[in-house]
Subunit: 478 residues, 2 copies
Amino acid sequence: MTPQSENFSRWYLDTIRKADLMDYAPVRGCIVFKPEGYELWERIQQAMDKRFKETGHRNAYFPMLIPESFFQKEKEHVEGFNPELPWVTEVAGEKLEERLALRPTSETVIGHMYSQWINSYRDLPVLINQWANVFRWEKRTTPFLRTSEFLWQEGHTAHANEEEARQETMQMLEIYREVVEEVLAIPVWKGQKTPSERFAGAVDTYSIEAMMKDGKAVQAGTSHYLGDKFAKGFEIKFLDRDNQLKYVHTTSWGTSTRLIGSMIMVHGDDKGLAVPPRISPTQVIMIPVGPPNKRQAVIEKMDEIFFALKDAGVRVKTDLREETPGWKFNEWEMRGVPVRIEIGPRDIANNQVVVARRDTGEKVSVDIDNAVAAVQQLLEDIQVNMLNKARAFRDANSHTHINSLEELKAHIAKAEQDGTLGGWVLGGWCGNDDCESKVKEETSFTTRNIPFDPPVEKDTCICCGQKAEHTVWFSRAY
Amino acid sequence: MTPQSENFSRWYLDTIRKADLMDYAPVRGCIVFKPEGYELWERIQQAMDKRFKETGHRNAYFPMLIPESFFQKEKEHVEGFNPELPWVTEVAGEKLEERLALRPTSETVIGHMYSQWINSYRDLPVLINQWANVFRWEKRTTPFLRTSEFLWQEGHTAHANEEEARQETMQMLEIYREVVEEVLAIPVWKGQKTPSERFAGAVDTYSIEAMMKDGKAVQAGTSHYLGDKFAKGFEIKFLDRDNQLKYVHTTSWGTSTRLIGSMIMVHGDDKGLAVPPRISPTQVIMIPVGPPNKRQAVIEKMDEIFFALKDAGVRVKTDLREETPGWKFNEWEMRGVPVRIEIGPRDIANNQVVVARRDTGEKVSVDIDNAVAAVQQLLEDIQVNMLNKARAFRDANSHTHINSLEELKAHIAKAEQDGTLGGWVLGGWCGNDDCESKVKEETSFTTRNIPFDPPVEKDTCICCGQKAEHTVWFSRAY
Ligand SMILES: [Zn+2]
Ligand SMILES: [Zn+2]
């Protein structure tokens, strides 16, 4: 496996193949989510779905094919997505009169349906989420992070007024932060996207942004306040309490299978994956050690502990294959299982097992009678430690002292020279699109978001030196 | 709402719209699964998925687009599905060199991947399931039962030998029977499809078949033993223990959103839906009755019972809208909620509530202190009763005394004349395709399946009068 320091993206591609998370599909830019990879997605789905339902949302399913004319109804939307669409033009042996797009996102078809479902203030709010496959045919693809077909959830809500819709937008962004930090152990910055980075057709786009181990950013989730743009495009009107016919205010918000890729790039190391306990398909792997002729007693004791852990709700497996313990240790470390239990004849004699943690590599002996409680505590500790470690890494690679384009260029040049990471740079921004695009052109750092709660406030624009209107994260991004 | 006896299919279409389960989509033959309809699917998914995992299967996700050449690799498969396929021919502004089909089922792409994943007997069995959207562009569509796009699960397994693969085929058929009977309360016949009704490319197809209230059949699930046909088409070979290179034996099995439609057509009546408790999004609806000026005390007591039920895991809702109790009773009966609780000032004075069941219409008074246990018991009773009722209906409309084509025609003519149901007819079959198609042409009754455990064995072919090789269910079908 290529070390991270040598070539991060090769390390990534090696790791996801070796850990059996995915395979390349026969269609360009598409991947197969293999069971080990798909189960990560299932656990993300569970964590998200639970919170969506607790906040009053319900799931629905809208058709995948969208008539071409629908894209024309919101001008910015069609410009944003048209270049990336696959089109169905023939069905069952006949040419279609109107081409059908494979959905890149469902605002248009959902807008069309909402216009029929919403008539009165009594019908509001509409709070619907969809789990679905979507298509965006992009030039460069990276497994999980950017693929021609991917899996996601897209929430679509309609409200009687702006205030409620904006509250919804923020509520869902906070749910994303919570799942990504607490379940995936990925620290994020919540903030607002700049106008040039907005979702096609949104009034305001908000995101959570995460730093990968190569210092690049991933937009891990977005929540959009769409104002009445789609309502006007699709004539979604309601009779309000005051007997006035009004347009609804809509929101949409999405997270996708790119969260799998982010999790890998945040926690993985040269041994392979490192998966936070709350998301790991397997939380504990049990491996017998010591001379094979004493294996029988070991296996019996292992079984005992195995079922005790299982009964306690721990996702545990045993590895009894005919390989050396060392080979198995490497294998399961590569797969990122958070806790390993080693057990041999000597351990049994002492009524102990050895417990090793993936995040720190530490090994401790634990009394067998206390093993379940100890493992449960350890899983919690690892979950917390992985978030803390990721946050420390992120903060160590976040730079807040850079005040001009020259300084930014120098910073990037120095990092390249030293073989360190450019990381993220917190800069002031005057709000002018030209300054944003000049930074991008000259450094390939793009604006990530305007964090709600930046570590410091910056006074002057990193590009033009004028008064800063916003404090913005700049970085390279996936 | 159109009564069932007047026009069953109009009753069905009225009911699913009125109960807010679906809406028609802007693309021909596609529907929107609205939250009330989609939640039925979510509960079916949970029931299925749990059992798939308990039997060692894992979920994965394969790409939706399938290159045209893949369909050519299994001759019968391409003939079976080619006429129904939508094709992507343009992507991101460019014509594709090879057309891509929207999957009608995934044997081909999965076969392609398995050929790369399977090398040794150690890699077997492969036990994978996929939850996905699929496309079959059929001429006539019926919401849930037959739509251009639908949702389903498709299991695909690969085994070292025929015996194991056949065991898998039967195991999954039994899981389908269990979920459909025990969760959806739909009685089914397990059996084998005749060769003409086999899945395109299968060696043997098995099904569970259910009778709707109009006497027609729905194929509610299928499980296929594919032999080595796809293995040969896609070169899925493995090195066996004996050092021989062999083809794997594969299976596939599927159930879909047509289970929603079946559930409605089996249990619904002229009041609307009737949903079995185990699948119902809402199990209990609480409605206040009596004079509005005494409402406050009633609502407080309702809240108490509401939370007691909720804590006990019952899916309960209250309806406090400003409508009459009678209007609400009708509304929730139409939506098929199994249990209604009525509570008014007089009930509170007697420390009682009135509990009404949707399946029988019965009302009883229940002591408030005992309400939770009584409701839980009632939900169990309703679940059992709905299955029994459906089984009694099915058996009353199943005819085993018909021995010739003339008798069958007379039976059908008489049913039409009397305005009763033709139902199902158990007939002998010599095994000859011509007899099967003659019955179909002359009566529009088709073979459903050859039940494993028929109520009686038939001696002579219903068509030619020769010795019967099989005892077969014949009926009209969706
Ligand atoms: Zn500036
Ligand atoms: Zn015959």
